[in-house]
Amino acid sequence: MALDIHVASSIKKAEVKRREMAVDEALHELIFTKYSSIAQNLKQLSRISDYYGDASFNGADVKVLEAELRSLASSVSEQPLHSLLSEFADVCVRAAANDENVYLFGD
């Protein structure tokens, strides 16, 4: 059970691919509880506040999301959360480089 991150050029292609990475539920909760004052001001990141929901980031939104993830990563004190945010930002970089979108699928 996880919030899975996929990269593809369309949602249909994303659904049939394997995930790039998964977001741990406890770390997700940490973002929107302990760091809620920061996260709620990050427009793209706040779109994934529902752990069981789906979200998609296209075009310029992917680059904004990457910048927001890096910004939050620089503020957190927990190493596992920092690693997760950095890994997610790296996925966004790869997606943007290939003109692909980022899709999140919740359980």
């Binding site: 059970m1 996880a2 899975d4 049939v16 406890a26 929107f32 069981y52 919740g106 359980d107």
Partner: protein
């Protein structure tokens, strides 16, 4: 009167609490989410899959009525978990998780392998996977003895590997 089992009256209706729990309401969007993610073998292959789709709602109701584990979530949702006798998932998962919002509507449901241990995920997330092992070492006199031996012989912990 109140303590007499023959003439007992249930003024507050507490005896009917279990029976009064109705079936979970599933909105179209939430139910489509469950079907899209947790049924079928062609899409979202990293998700756990139900082996009998026709049993999902029935087992979800059973889970909420008689759960093995209940977790109140930070956003107001409640997650119920229950282990069944027979597998509900295609990989042999015997558990089902049901997430319900504060209005009692179904958010999602999916097969799970095990019941969630309360606080375990957050502990591992914050302290790391090896925290328990390090804590045991701290209190274990044998590990202290090993440290002394290492100090005398000039060996390090990594030499043991």
């Amino acid at each position: 009167m109140g303590s007499n089992p023959l003439a007992w009256q249930d003024d507050f209706g507490l005896g009917k609490v279990g029976a009064a729990v109705k079936a979970i309401k599933w909105g179209k969007s939430a139910w489509n989410h469950v079907i899209n993610g947790h049924i079928g073998k062609k899409k979202l292959l990293d998700k756990t899959k139900f082996c009998k789709p026709c049993q999902i709602k029935k087992n979800a109701d059973k889970t909420v009525k008689n759960p093995d584990n209940v977790i109140k979530q930070w956003n107001g949702n409640t997650r119920y978990e229950r282990m069944f006798e027979k597998p509900v998932g295609t990989q042999g998962e015997r558990g089902q998780a049901v997430v319900v919002n504060k209005h009692g509507e179904g958010v999602t449901t999916f097969p799970i392998g095990n019941i969630t241990v309360p606080g375990a995920n957050l502990g591992v997330a914050i302290l790391g996977d090896n925290f328990f092992g390090q804590a045991c070492d701290f209190f274990n006199p044998l590990s202290d003895l090993q440290d002394v031996i290492n100090l005398v012989t000039g060996a390090s912990d990594e030499d043991d590997d």
